[in-house]
């Protein structure tokens, strides 16, 4: 029987949380933007080599400009967080430090992965411009559109949870 782990994706509106999950669970992507209302739950089993099967129950929460506005009960019992921001929209990462700190302080024993999405929309020069902001905090640069590093993000988090 697979071990179940609850993963919660949070971040601003339109950063691509739902697209990341869709890419990971269904290996699909669409340009159509449909705002998530409340919460949407998906599931995917992943095999961890030399370990066992992990069943990831992924909670896709509606976007919030401020993490403090997230309904606290949705975060209860979370095994791992993925904080997603949009690399191409500075407004989604201008409070990155405080948002990540809030998560780490309130859920001290829960791993948090900070993810910059929409990697396909930016170039190396752009990334180096924001190096001071990104380098200390960001764990993964991914693209839900191309699928770049999405699988790696979830499997790495799953490994940490076992």
């Amino acid at each position: 029987m697979a071990i179940s782990k609850k993963i919660v994706l949070i971040g601003h509106f339109g950063v691509g949380k739902t697209s990341l999950i869709r890419r990971f669970v269904e290996n699909a992507f669409t340009e159509d933007y449909k705002v998530t209302i409340g919460v949407h739950i998906s599931k995917k089993n992943i095999e961890i080599p030399e370990e066992e099967t992990v069943s990831l129950i992924i909670w896709d929460l509606e976007g919030q400009d401020d993490i403090k506005n997230t309904r606290p009960s949705y975060l209860l019992g979370t095994n791992g967080f993925i904080y997603v921001f949009d690399l191409s929209r500075p407004v989604t990462f201008e409070n990155l430090d405080s948002e990540v700190t809030y998560l780490k302080e309130n859920f001290p024993n829960t791993p948090v992965k900070v993810v910059g999405n929409k990697m396909d929309l930016v170039n190396k020069v752009y990334l180096s411009d924001y190096n001071d902001v990104f380098k200390p905090l960001v764990d993964f640069y991914v693209s839900a559109k191309t699928g770049s590093r999405v699988e790696l993000l979830f499997s790495k988090l799953a490994k940490e949870l076992i």
């Binding site: 029987m1 179940s4 782990k5 609850k6 409340g38 919460v39 739950i41 998906s42 599931k43 069943s55 129950i57 909670w59 309904r71 606290p72 009960s73 949705y74 209860l76 019992g77 979370t78 095994n79």
Partner: protein, 272 residues
């Protein structure tokens, strides 16, 4: 006879007709004033005219205003559907309720006729049951027809919404996702009402009833089809309490396999 007197006589001769005319005008004005200023008199004169015009107007409404009113109503209904539904809901609700009551009465009468006109062992046993339990025989027949069944039992960890154990008659939606979504709905409702120590206890979905029973670290969701009434709810609550205490669920929460096995053993026949 001086000058003024002569002039007066000439005036009398010349203006007699005009004076009479003026006098008659004065009289007519007084009558008119009386008619206008006294409601009763005015009413006698005006009412028949208004009545006649009103009658004409009413007769003309369908022709002259009908299309305009219909168009305006159509537009208003299209623009304010929610308001219309809100206004109609209480009326329709009562109508539906009355209709259902009427249909139930007819059903009851049909069953009564059936009971009176047939004889079988089943009927004999039903009659005996009716006598011993005090439940009306017709109600027993209805109860037989609306057989309540447990479709699925899910044990869910509180907070995380992770599935701990599950049994189901027919594989429905993915149980992990159902557990998560039920927890999200529960969290939302409980947060919204902000009442501490109050839990969501029941959800109705199509022809399924989801009974939720809360414990300290987990809750049990039972998906029921058929009639979910107070008697059934009472029995179900007792059965779940019986299950949690007899099977020592609190001690085996971490062991999914054993918990699943115990759940299956306890609810194997799906009846209460």
């Amino acid at each position: 006879m001086n000058q003024d007197e002569k002039l007066s006589i000439i005036k009398d001769i010349l203006l007699t007709d005009e004076r009479e005319f003026a006098s008659s005008i004065e009289k007519k004005i007084k009558i008119l004033e009386k008619t206008i200023n006294e409601k009763k008199n005015l009413s006698t004169k005006v009412d028949p005219i208004i009545d006649e015009k009103l009658k004409e107007f009413i007769e003309e409404i369908p022709k002259s205003l009908g299309p305009t009113i219909t168009e305006a109503l159509k537009k208003e209904i299209t623009n304010s559907k929610d308001a219309v539904v809100e206004a109609l809901f209480p009326i329709l609700g009562k109508m539906v309720k009355r209709y259902v009551q009427h249909e139930m009465k007819l059903l009851s009468e049909r069953i009564n006729n059936q009971v009176n006109n047939t004889f079988s062992f089943k009927r004999f046993f039903r009659k005996a049951k009716s006598k011993t339990t005090g439940i009306n025989e017709s109600d027993l027949i209805i109860q037989e027809q609306t057989n309540t069944k447990i479709e699925q039992v899910i044990i869910i960890e509180k907070g995380s919404g992770l599935l701990l154990a599950e049994i189901s008659k027919n594989k429905m939606a993915d149980e992990d996702m159902v557990a998560g979504m039920l927890t999200a709905i529960k969290s939302f409702v409980e947060d919204a009402f902000k009442e501490e120590s109050q839990d969501l206890q029941y959800i109705e979905y199509d022809h399924y009833h989801i009974h939720l029973q809360n414990f300290s670290s987990f809750y049990i969701a039972v998906v029921v089809s058929g009639a979910y009434n107070v008697i059934f709810k009472d029995k179900l609550e007792d059965k779940i309490l019986d299950f949690t205490s007899k099977q020592k669920v609190f001690d085996i929460l971490k062991n999914k396999n054993i918990l699943n096995q115990k759940l299956e053993e306890f609810f194997n026949n799906g009846n209460i």
